[in-house]
């Protein structure tokens, strides 16, 4: 299982690009962190999600 934004998902074995393609995220408006490290956009296609990974997918919201 892979934890994505706090939710355990059965997506191990997919690349980040493959996972994102199954979602409604706008790739231009998100940033991805894997186990505490940034995954650059250019690496989405080659970064494999592995069992136990913790992924954060973030975007901008209003704030002070």
């Amino acid at each position: 299982m892979v934890k994505i934004n706090g939710e355990e998902l059965n997506v191990a074995g997919k690349t980040i690009a493959e996972y994102l393609a199954t979602t409604n995220y706008d790739p231009k408006r998100i940033a991805v962190e894997r186990n505490g490290d940034i995954v650059f956009k250019s690496q989405y296609g080659e970064t494999l999600l592995q069992d136990g990974d913790s992924i954060e997918i973030v975007s901008f919201v209003g704030g002070g």
Binding site: N5, G6, T23, N24, Y25, D26, R29, I30, A31, V32, E33, G36, I38, F40, K41, E56, I57, V58, S59, F60, V61, G62, G63, G64
Partner: protein, 256 residues
């Protein structure tokens, strides 16, 4: 006045009003930016939502500098992660460090803020740390590579004004970086007073978000900040310790 620029991390700004974007409709952002005359707007970073396709970035006019904050961070490590994610979101190198470990008063953790400032400044960020106004901490932030120092006026979102006035004045007098008063400014008159004291800029969010007419309040703040800046540059008149001083000639009275 055209030569009076605010310089942060090598970037020049004409406006001295940094606008927050929290707690109000994205649809009001364009009007707020315009009526505030703002050139910098703050944003937060949060887990992305797949349900909402609208992005706040679609509502921010071109040419406005984005200043992501690290709100939600409880220590330096989390702030550094959020700052890196914000940069990856493609907003440039500015970051406002905000580290809190207390959810009642939302006071910044100065020690963790110094640590995060040093790490991020070394990574090339223009670091704008939000802090509790303490001269020793401000000096450490300078040494850590901060691009400005952002002392709080009173607790975040309280609209209580310049509760820390004396200590902000010390930072203005002693620190050779822009002192930007952040948090707690509730009224234009308070923003004006901080600018008269020599603050470099004002950051406001809740004062606008909780106002009756947000764009009109943005305009009121803009005018107050400009008035305070001009008063500071002009040099305030002196205050008498006691007694009075006539403004009228003391000769030529209509009597012998």
């Amino acid at each position: 006045m055209n030569n009076d620029k605010l310089i942060i991390g090598g970037h020049e700004f004409n406006s001295r009003f940094i606008l927050g974007s929290g707690k109000y409709s994205m649809k009001l952002i364009e009007a707020a930016v315009k009526d505030a005359g703002a050139e910098i707007i703050t944003l937060a970073v949060r887990r992305a939502n797949t349900k909402e396709q609208e992005s706040i970035l679609d509502y921010i006019p071109d040419g406005i500098t984005l200043l992501p904050n690290t709100s939600g961070a409880r220590n330096a490590e989390e702030a550094v992660r959020i700052a890196r994610l914000a940069r990856e979101l493609g907003c440039g190198d500015f970051v406002k460090i905000e580290i809190m470990r207390d959810s009642k008063y939302l006071l910044p953790d100065n020690q963790e803020t110094i640590k995060a400032t040093e790490i991020l400044a070394n990574e090339g960020f223009a670091v704008m740390p939000y802090m509790y106004p303490d001269l020793n901490v401000a000096r450490d932030l300078v040494n850590a590579g901060a691009a400005s120092v952002m002392p709080l006026a009173s607790p975040i979102g309280s609209n209580k004004g310049l509760a820390t006035k004396e200590f902000i004045q010390i930072l203005i007098d002693e620190i050779d970086l822009p002192i930007i008063v952040d948090a707690g400014i509730g009224r234009p008159s308070q923003a004006c007073e901080a600018m008269e004291m020599g603050a470099a800029a004002i950051m406001a969010n809740t004062a606008l978000a909780t106002a009756g007419d947000l764009p009109m309040m943005a305009s009121a703040f803009k005018n107050a900040i400009e008035a305070g800046r001009n008063a500071y540059l002009a040099g305030l008149g002196r205050v008498l310790t006691r007694g009075a001083s006539a403004s009228d000639p003391l000769t030529g009275f209509l009597r012998d």
